[in-house]
Symmetry: C2
Subunit: 339 residues, 2 copies
DNA sequence: AACGCTGGGACCCTTTGGTAG
DNA sequence: GCTACCAAAGGGTCCCAGCGT
């Protein structure tokens, strides 16, 4: 049986009210200091931990922040984000509650699950699964929703930067690989003609599976076959993991990166910088970390719930590293690693 | 105001007891089917979600499993594990509560935090931070603790396999890089003489920071400098991330893997197989996944708390891939990528 | 009378055994 | 015997009352 506040009070011959006051630090000018000390000492000795459920039930705040993200085990970017959010939320005296999903149907269940915690706020990348207008603030990243605060990316800005970079190297024929999260592919396709760049794309929907490195491998393989008549010279991947998978697939087919194919990732995962070649990729936010922006935003709304809806455009930037080079014709320059 | 069961009952002109029974599926033989249907329908329409805190307070089980792991944002292996545990625990009708830590002091706070949820079970890799004997079952991986069920690895078995493999390739001079989690370095050092293998090691303690790929980079750099007079031919890294960092560092110094250095990782992270070169690494468990073994064990103890303490030795195996090759002398075979 | 400190007890929402119709 | 309700319990929180000086 776990130690409860009531038992603790009984042991001390005091009322729960007094114990509660002391243990919550509301004892200033209310409880005699030496008594407070005795209570704290006894609580420590007994290894007392207040019951979260009971406290949460009584006061109307849970001090919980829900975090609803695609599965950790698939996309490295989300685990990095989850880890940072965890840390920042704890630092504010709140506690994070996670729910991850792989299939879209699971996402709705995950959301319901998280709501039953009576969370004080929610951070997600998938606001459309939220039904109605919840009574807690929500911050969404990527995908926009008129109901909630959103941190959105400016696809046009970053794709212009990307296209300028790629064309400056001499690329005129590129391919998009991966998923079409937040509808960025149409934006890229709209921009390409302006830069006289030909663009193709490989299998796009919104499933998270399409963000993993093995997906990157498969899509690249398919791409090489399907577009063999007119191979692109640069690959734009919708995540770093996809980019890694792509580079490996290229190697297995005897192509080298960046000599034969330039590859650009997205997210700037920790691994990107240390990959061989160091991966050129799109960074979220150029100064404050994304996790910080998200937590700042949610706590701003928790403190002042009446603030109007925010829509913050995050400035992304291209981390130029070693995975891009001027294009050259596609004769095999090395022996395929596998056939 | 969130919809509560009381309001729902009031709207229906029924008592909460009846509503509760229906919504918990205990309505067999207790509630008229058509009434049950009406209640369920109304609950759905109102978007009712039961308050977890209240339910948990009343029945004595929380249906929560605590997961206490080193920070996600640092070690890929832990995020994969966390993701899989999340999925498996949900599948059993329980809910995972996560706490991660970076510094050791944070670990104790994280543990206390998690305990205040009145969890029904705990999965961790760091049992020594648990004070006393908690009233919920605990399963520990890696690190052994006489108080709890443990899934332990057989260092000797896997290191023999590793040494046999390495010596069969011709290696006689190896180096250990990374942290000394679960005291496996001493085991390796004890075994080496048997195989006539010389072993050195680079900076080892238990801090998680030493599991990241940037740590792998730094340690390798230090190693190259410190042991330049007698460079080893193979590197055994204490995590795959370290191995990745090491390989990149080698490349930056003009060494290639596996031609100049063989590298072996540990954990068999998703990325390992798709890395270039595909990373030879130590897999946890050869058949059932580690996450499954852990959840099976914890639920076994939740269902039958009186079972004696278990100590399961997990059979690990070497996933032989492309990052190892016969050694050769250390003349530079390529141009350093950076100086 | 006023102030400083501690205790009493309603309340948060759900579960569940007992009971009434 | 079937169905639905009553009421207590579970652990804290917090307003208000009470007591002593």
């Amino acid at each position: 049986m776990a130690m409860t506040m009531m038992k603790l009070a009984e042991n001390l011959g005091l009322s729960v009210a007094t114990v509660s006051r002391v243990l919550n630090g509301c004892d200033k000018k209310r409880v005699r200091p030496e008594l407070a000390a005795r209570i704290r000492e006894e609580a420590r000795k007994a290894g007392f931990q207040p019951d979260r459920a009971a406290g949460q039930l009584r006061r109307r705040r849970s001090n919980l922040i829900g975090i609803l993200l695609p599965s950790l085990s698939i996309v490295n970017f989300y685990s990095e984000l989850a880890g940072e959010l965890h840390e920042l939320i704890l630092k504010r005296g709140y506690f994070p509650v996670f729910a991850f999903w792989i299939q879209m149907e699971e996402a709705v269940k995950a959301y319901r699950n998280i709501v039953s915690w009576r969370i004080d706020g929610l951070i997600t990348v998938q606001p459309d699964i939220i039904e109605g207008k919840p009574e807690f603030p929500v911050v969404s990243y990527y995908n926009e929703d008129p109901r909630f605060d959103c941190l959105v990316t400016d696809s046009e800005q970053i794709f212009r930067e990307l296209l300028e970079y790629l064309t400056s190297l001499g690329h005129r024929n590129i391919v998009w690989i991966g998923c079409n999260f937040d509808g960025r592919l149409p934006c890229l396709m709209r921009l390409c003609p302006e830069y006289s760049v030909k663009i193709k794309y490989m299998d796009c929907d919104n499933s998270i599976g399409l963000l993993s490195s093995s997906a990157g491998y498969c899509l690249t393989e398919k791409m090489l076959k399907e577009f063999s008549a007119d191979l692109p010279t640069a690959i734009v991947a919708s995540s770093d993991d996809i980019a890694f998978g792509a580079i490996r697939c290229l190697a297995d087919h005897g192509y080298r990166c960046p000599e034969d194919f330039s590859v650009i990732g997205s997210d700037d995962v920790k691994q990107a910088e240390l990959y061989i070649p160091a991966l050129t990729t799109i960074k979220h936010s150029d100064k404050t970390s994304l996790a910080e922006l998200l937590t700042d935003q949610i706590f701003k709304k928790i403190e002042k719930p009446d603030l109007p809806r925010d829509r913050v455009v995050i400035k992304r930037s291209l981390a130029v590293r070693d995975s891009c080079a001027p294009p050259r014709s596609h004769e095999l320059t090395s022996i395929p690693r596998r056939q």
